[in-house]
């Protein structure tokens, strides 16, 4: 039913384009009905760009972001990340890619319940082989205001704290591209502002690319480009 797209055609993608999306579709089949969560979507993102996506709930933003992050297979269409077809990589390659080049902040955090905040944050670094950025952890934790909570389990943290831990975990390997699914959804106004300004400063510092789904119009307005999503269709605002 779900066909895995294979790259037969070769297309040229310019160096500076980090992310290129062609005719991306995702359809959920449920019995007789099928839901087109993402419908024929085209998108190009350049290095260091900040893209925001807004849209009503259920319009398919998360689904799109998951596919861009290499977490969900599209029904059809292609995604090129730094020139490589994302869904043509082997499991091992794609996993290494996710670990080193992609950061993903989930809408529902998805922290590992058996690891403390600190262990959660450090896990991607451990997976990548340990000591890539030894002092980055302290910097991140301090900037996110998590210093006194790092030895707690996720179940002992508030929603906002969990979200910040999730953000730190996504950032720890200094990924080239960061996907954030409503990263401020659980935060009060000041923490939200702090998180966003952190993400933006890191973007400046590391030339990170940032793709963010948000409900907040003011945050969306800070982006280089803003897209709206409606019934699975992506449009430039």
């Amino acid at each position: 039913m779900m066909k895995k797209p294979r790259s037969t055609e070769k297309i040229d993608i310019p160096e500076h384009q980090v992310l290129t999306v062609r005719a991306l579709c995702k359809t959920y089949f449920q019995g007789d009905t099928h839901i087109r969560a993402v419908d024929d979507c085209y998108l190009t993102v350049e290095r260091g760009e900040f893209i925001s996506i807004i849209g009503t709930s259920g319009s398919g933003k998360s689904t799109l972001l998951h596919m861009l992050g290499g977490l969900d297979t599209p029904t059809s269409g292609k995604i090129y990340l730094a020139g490589r077809d994302l869904y043509d990589m082997s499991d091992k390659e794609l996993s290494a890619y996710r670990n080193k080049n992609i950061g993903f902040i989930f809408q529902s955090f998805h922290l590992l319940p058996v690891l403390t905040a600190k262990e959660n944050i450090l896990l991607p670094q451990k997976l990548a082989g340990g000591t890539r950025y030894p002092h980055y952890f302290d910097t991140l934790v301090e900037k996110l205001g998590l210093t006194d909570r790092i030895h707690h389990l996720p179940s002992e943290l508030s929603g906002g704290q969990q979200q910040r831990v999730a953000a730190a975990r996504a950032l720890i390997n200094k990924p080239a591209i960061l996907f954030a699914d409503e990263p401020t959804g659980n935060l009060d106004e000041t923490s939200a502002k702090e998180l966003i300004s952190l993400l933006l400063s890191l973007r400046q510092e590391l030339n990170q690319t940032l793709v963010m789904v948000t409900h907040d119009k003011t945050i969306a307005a800070m982006a280089d480009k803003t897209y709206t999503m409606q019934n699975g269709i992506l449009r430039k605002a």
């Binding site: 290494a96 996710r98 922290l111 319940p113 058996v114 997976l127 179940s155």
Partner: protein
Amino acid sequence: MQQKVFRVSLFYALRDIRRRPVRFLSLSAIVCAALVSLTLLLLFMEAQWRADVMPDREENYHFTLDNLSEKEAAYAESLPWVQAAYRSVSPTNEDRICLRIRSDWEHCTESGELVRELIRKIGLFRREPYAAMYDTVYDGAMAKFHAYWYGATEANGLTDTRFAETQAYTHLIDHKVTNQVFMQKTVNSYVIQRDFFTLILMFCAFTAAAFTILIENDYRRSFEDFGCLRALGFTNGHLLCIHLIRSFFIYISALPGTFLVSAGFLALFRRMTAASITEETAYLMDVTAHLPIPLMLILFSLMLGAVLLGTGAVCFLHRREEIMSLLRGVQRMQISFVAETSEAFAESDSIREYGRLYLRRSRRSMLYTVIVTSLVMPLPFHLFSSLIELLPAAGTQEVYPVFLYTLLQTLAVFITTLCITVTAARSAVSMRARELGILRSLGADRDCIRTLIYPAAWIQSLHITICSLFMIIWTHIVSRNHFDFDVKAEAGSGARLINTLLSDIFGSALFVIPATFLGTVLFLRYFFRTPILTSMNDKE
């Protein structure tokens, strides 16, 4: 590279073990119970084996003499080279007197005179069964010799002493041989050595299968975590490594318990049989038991292999699972389901309706529980039926130790099965912890939760009973050809079949239903004690 994979997997596996002790320990308890059963099986087998080889190895020669009167037996026992006379009980209930004579053949020839005397006194060869036996066992030449020997002794004493002594020895050896056959019949008719290995392998296979399915159950409960790990860049290889490490630790942590419990069982057994092991029967059951260490090591590694293989199989089955569907997890599916139906909570009828809906949706996980439990069920019942067969002769000196062994063995296997059944039932409900937590938060009270859970438990245990019954009957049919348990089996096999069938039905129902409910009740107790929020976070 390999080392890196191992290190990060070890890190995660250890955290998982430490922070989810309930899951870890319940799996470990199952492995422990299985290993205890295995040890006892081995011990039993070893004892059986020793009983078989002892007469040979320790050169204890045994005579079996039919139709001796008590007086004749007493006389025989008073002879200096006869160490003991004992009455043996055979399954055919023939009354036989056995004589144990001095341990080496030197003695036998030395006391050739006495042998002859005994034989003359008792008039062995005039007895009907012996005459017939010698006709068939010995060839014509032997028969001729017998005639000569018999004649010689009767008429004018022995003319050729050496020749006669050699023949007396031959006679003894032959008795030893027939005697050996007889021994096997008394002790071993219940559990036949060769098939014992089949039993052990069957046991290993069943436990491995059960463990695999429990691991699978466990894996499903952690779908979300594995999705998360995959999203962070863990490969399937990493997940496999994590699971293998975890299973290895489960196995290792079961070992101390195994040794303790086995030692306890052994001590108990020794204590219970000490009184019954007299000078005469000690050779039958040498329980100052040497556990066969190399065999034990082999079987223990076999079990470890089975456990790891099962774990690997589970990971292999799930290797193609999409990250997003893992992340959504079993729980999430339940939650959306709760959300769909949450309006319908006010009346208890709608709760039942909800319960039915849930059952329909969770058919698969129930199927797993049913399979696990019915897979392990035949073994205890198999042992149980041999226990029943031993029961009539349980009081006698020779069968008593065998009976005790079988009793303990059956007990151990029943406990293993109980562990598996209870754990399977418990983990089947605890999959629902989060859903039930949400229901509680929506205002469902304890009675409401019980109305939801108990019918499901009933349905599940009925399914298990029926499946187990089929399994048990199937093993009965299969083992009929392999296990020749009872000499009397031919007689009245129709009535016996019905008896077996009825006891299987009652036995499996009596065993399965309380065990399933015990698992369910254990979970509910735990669930009602934990705060609603903790259940909603599924922290077990």
